[in-house]
């Protein structure tokens, strides 16, 4: 795992409170897999904890990592003010990443990539890698935004892109699940077996968990959590997982940062 300083090549504002940074990070660019994240550390002594940010994309040849994040507090505000050329302490890649080979089976004839809000950026890296590996399988990309999308065209080379927005500013008016249901019904292809990869707010993942049980979809959710260390030392970010058993379901705890952030969607117990 890499831990050290990385140069901020450039940073730009994508929308109100949404920023993109490109970091010179060959060690992470060459080893990260979709669904993994990095921890960014501030040098402000009043701020103690690292901030986990999902990897939006990598360019292994150029040695760069692209991150998209929202300013939600003091730490992300600190990062958003860093000038191009600044050095940032980074560790990563962290976490497990999405299991791409779940889409290997010849019976899987459809791949869903579903992102909501700040869950959209990591799906770009995923969509790109899925497309590389399965150029012949239909990849259906559903991105949900509150309003106008701040990332969209980047997805187009990798699949069929559907956007949804809460206010109808762009694409389908409603949430991604409405959009997925609409598309399924309109396309009249209800009987595909598929794999669904998702990242987004808890209400979206909960709704997806219900939705996928109606179809034969195997799902993988990437979870967000308030973390401490980011690498499995502090037990700060547990998730409850369902363990199917003969005498009813049991439960176990896993840590989002180390065992996740990606978990089998059927197993996640949302609080």
């Amino acid at each position: 795992m890499f831990y050290g300083k990385a140069r901020l090549i450039r940073q730009r504002k994508l929308a109100d409170g949404i920023f993109e940074m490109i970091l010179d990070l060959p060690e992470i660019a060459q080893t990260a897999v979709p669904g993994q994240f990095v921890d960014l550390y501030t040098e402000d002594p009043s701020l103690l904890l690292p901030r986990p940010i999902s990897i939006c994309d990598t360019d292994p040849a150029a040695g760069t990592v692209r991150l998209i994040y929202a300013v939600v507090g003091k730490g992300t505000d600190y990062f958003s003010r860093l000038a191009d050329g600044s050095m940032i302490r980074v560790s990563g890649p962290l976490g497990n990443g999405y299991p791409l080979d779940e889409a290997d089976s010849p019976f899987v004839t459809e791949i869903y990539v579903v992102g909501g809000g700040l869950g959209v950026p990591p799906m770009l890296f995923l969509a790109k890698e899925l497309y590389k590996r399965y150029p012949d399988k239909p990849i259906r990309i559903f991105n949900g935004f509150r309003s106008v999308p701040w990332i969209e065209a980047d997805f187009e080379p990798y699949g069929e892109v559907f956007s949804a927005s809460d206010d109808g500013a762009s694409g389908f008016m409603g949430n991604v699940i409405d959009a997925m249901e609409y598309r399924r019904v309109m396309a009249k292809d209800m009987d595909h077996e598929g794999v669904l990869y998702a990242c987004g707010p808890v209400p979206m993942l909960k709704a997806l968990q219900n939705w996928q049980t109606m179809y034969e979809l195997h799902s993988f959710f990437s979870l967000e959590a308030r973390m401490g260390c980011g690498y499995g030392a502090c037990a700060g970010c547990p998730v409850r997982l369902r363990v199917p058993g003969m005498d009813g379901d049991g439960e176990r705890l896993a840590s989002v940062c180390k065992d996740g952030p990606v978990f089998n969607g059927e197993e996640v117990i949302f609080a």
Binding site: Y41, L49, P50, K74, A225, G228, Y231, G232, G236
Partner: protein
């Protein structure tokens, strides 16, 4: 000038006074960064006889110069420690302290019994100061009579030196330190976290699911230092100073106050290399202050 980092802590020789604090360091996860063998000792996270699920999330929040946590001693139980965590330490040349948790005297006794005979353990640290569990934990550490009882009960069983970890959430910490002495403690570690709270202005709710959490980090260093100083003056036992240590200077200051060794906690989260950085900075920092052997400064401050 050649400097000496070795200390003798309650009869256990440590190659240097740096010990990781319970719950902030995991040899497997943290060992990705540097070799645990450079440490004076590793404290394994609080373990109870049976597995504990811990508290609801969010468990972690940041505060100015520190953090709140409400993990609630989530752990897989002593049997799992004997099968995995403790044998895992065989490969490292460092001392092993195991932090013991319980809800009642019986539970503290049971976890101690289960871990007795495990040769890889060098010391036990009795956690009577966790602010995040409803029964047991801090309730033992804030009542002198109960503190003495639980220390006595565990000391009767323990086959390793017993460190008692004290809570700062009391009016007079020396009263609890004296109770630990009366119970037969071999050493003290202090302080555990201070009870703290933050409120989210938007939701108007506490940021920690359990409402209150344990406050740690550099912001608490002066409080920890003061309590170590008071306890060192009040009792004769060796002390591990813990609370907000983030630099070699902090280590020296804590030792001058009366600590023989120190634990580093929250700083491991801000910098996964914190202990390595501090150990490497010690010789030069000691030289700057005219210290040849680190043990010579223990409790020098009047």
């Amino acid at each position: 000038m050649k400097t000496e980092l070795k200390v003798d802590f309650a009869g256990v020789p440590l190659k240097n006074p740096l010990v990781t604090a319970s719950g902030t360091y995991n040899p497997e996860a943290s060992g990705q960064f540097y070799d645990p063998s450079i440490l004076g000792a590793v404290t394994l996270k609080g373990v109870s006889a049976e597995a504990w699920q811990g508290n609801p999330t969010p468990r972690i929040a940041e505060t100015y110069g520190g953090m709140l946590n409400s993990v609630g001693l989530q752990n897989p139980g002593a049997a799992e420690y004997l099968a995995h965590e403790i044998p895992y330490m065989e490969q490292f040349d460092t001392k092993v302290i195991v932090n013991l948790a319980g809800h009642s005297i019986e539970e503290y006794e049971r976890v101690t019994e289960m871990l007795c005979g495990a040769d890889r353990i060098d010391m036990f640290e009795l956690n009577i100061s966790c602010p995040n569990v409803k029964e047991g934990g801090m309730t033992f550490g804030t009542d002198a009579r109960m503190a003495e009882q639980v220390v006595k009960a565990v000391k009767r069983i323990a086959d390793k030196p017993l460190i008692v970890k004290l809570s700062p959430n009391v009016t007079d910490i020396t009263e609890i330190a004296r109770a630990a002495v009366a119970g037969g403690a071999d050493a003290l570690s202090l302080i555990n976290t201070l009870l703290g709270m933050r409120i989210d202005l938007r939701t108007r709710k506490p940021v920690i699911a359990n409402k209150l959490g344990g406050f740690s980090g550099p912001a608490i260093f002066p409080v920890a230092l003061r309590m170590v100083y008071q306890c060192a003056k009040a009792v004769k036992l060796p002390i591990i100073g813990v609370g907000g240590i983030a630099s070699a200077e902090d280590v020296l200051e804590m030792m001058m106050a009366g600590a023989t060794a120190v634990q580093v906690g929250a700083e491991n989260l801000r910098d996964p290399y914190a202990c390595k950085r501090i150990i490497e900075a010690l010789p030069e920092t000691m030289t700057r202050y005219g210290i040849r052997s680190i043990s010579e400064i223990v409790g020098v401050t009047d």
